[in-house]
Symmetry: C2
């Protein structure tokens, strides 16, 4: 991987990298914030998955997360939302399909299947790459995201038991099979088999018996997409039915924007730091023969 | 003035307003962040002047200032950087002259003089408007800015003794008469009389006897514009010669971007809060993201 930009922020470094992705079969760009602590020791990483139309740039510029990451000693790993480039299939006139709308699935349908393998990219290829090249504690990962990226964070954590120590989301698409954004992408990327869709649908994964992990979700009540696209209450219902540990915080007056994310990202990163630290303590005890 | 947007952030409200400016003779747009405290009492205001090419949008999206303003009980007043609109003179092919490059002066030369009255707009018309329409403590004002806006903040505070309780700047253009950005705009807006230029030049205003006020400036050592455009050392020299109370902090590794501003904006707002009102005990809040 090649470092193409490095900017000092809060005593750490906000870097941008480019590399050839094997699974997406194209060049991918991502950003990483390394906190000051990473100059002297390896740190845990919080993966951030962005929403429709975003690149790695939106979160690093708008969320104000680097300040908290610096304080908490967390790295931020910020991938793009889809494969990119002139060779990569796209529907330029649509913001909710193709480039910028990878939906964090492994596409099975042509022409998408050649490049749109974002699930494997985010859960496998990218962690392996950054954990080998950067001062990160291998396997010490949390994941979060916004909207389509909130959906991505939820399914990655629900499908990859033990791969992430904690998960949170801002205004996630909780039940993509039931909303037009999700249906449009699932049909294009996965075909017509709705049972295949269900393997990338957070509400269905929980309903179908995904192992319990603590979920933290913030949802603005003034969110313009709440009624039609997000289906937070469907997730709430299946979690209640299965006694799934969901903390869904309804935030009065907040919309779908990065101003909503900026308001609560500090609490989300503190929540992830707690889980990432807990695991560290447990592992230290377990791997210390003197105890 | 008409409220055209309102977004909840950190418990307060980030609003955008449009109004007819008398002094700029056109419609102007500006943003205001009102902290939670403003729902129950009047608050002091920090005016933020942005740099070349910016509108009111850049600072509100990129600086992460609203979080600190909410904690400190400060309003943020964020004007545009020039008059705007199809009727307003511009040089579309230049980023450093015309719309987006008002340089915070009152233009005396045609065709600019009709609309480019940003000095009077920022120091007179805008404060009168917002202090009459919003929950602000009349006359309780601080001013800060970045690059061209840092120049603007410095000259407003130096020329308007008693009108601002404190002033700070990020990578300000300290001696515009001596750099190409300043010379280009001063020549266009003010003509060839360099003594007129000197009345809008921070270094010259101090050299020529401006009354002492505490100045806080942060300057990145990796700033790509430091050598040619900013002339921070000229300001340092005249301040030393006149025993002017300048705190110029050279920040190693930092560039000219909003990531630099985001890193230090909290300290600048705390500095202004000190001068504007009894400082609240925000240290814990500031270092505990969970709050």
């Amino acid at each position: 991987m090649e470092k193409i930009e490095s900017i000092k922020e809060f005593g750490g470094w906000l870097n941008r990298y480019r590399h050839r992705s094997q699974v997406c079969d194209c060049e991918m760009t991502f950003s990483v914030y390394l906190p000051p602590l990473a100059q002297t020791e390896k740190v845990p990483a919080v993966y951030w998955l962005s929403g429709l139309t975003c690149t790695d740039d939106n979160f690093r510029v708008k969320a104000g997360a680097q300040r908290y990451a610096a304080e908490l000693g967390l790295a931020l790993i910020i991938p793009d939302t889809s494969p990119r480039g002139p060779e990569v299939p796209d529907v330029p006139e649509r913001y909710d399909l193709g480039q910028g709308a990878g939906f964090y699935v492994n596409a099975t349908q042509p022409p998408w299947s050649k490049n749109y393998q974002m699930y494997d990219y985010v859960t496998r290829e990218l962690p392996a790459l950054v954990e080998s090249e950067l001062p990160l504690i291998p396997g010490r990962r949390a994941i979060s995201g916004h909207s389509m990226g909130g959906h991505g964070a939820l399914i990655c954590a629900l499908k990859e038991l033990g791969r992430y120590q904690s998960v949170s989301a801002f205004a996630p698409i909780c039940h993509p099979m039931a909303c037009s954004w999700g249906q449009g992408c699932f049909k294009a990327y996965l075909g017509n088999n709705r049972e295949m869709w269900a393997t990338y649908d957070a509400a269905r994964l929980i309903e179908d018996g995904a192992a319990a992990i603590p979920l933290l979700i913030d949802q603005g009540i003034a969110d313009e997409f709440l009624a039609q696209q997000l289906h937070s209450t469907s997730l709430e219902r299946v979690c209640a039915a299965r006694h799934f540990p969901l903390t869904l915080r309804w935030q009065e007056g907040y919309d779908h924007s990065y101003h909503f994310i900026a308001t609560f990202i500090g609490e989300h990163l503190a929540y992830h730091a707690d889980h990432l630290r807990e695991t560290r303590t447990i592992e230290t005890a377990a791997t210390n023969p003197a105890r």
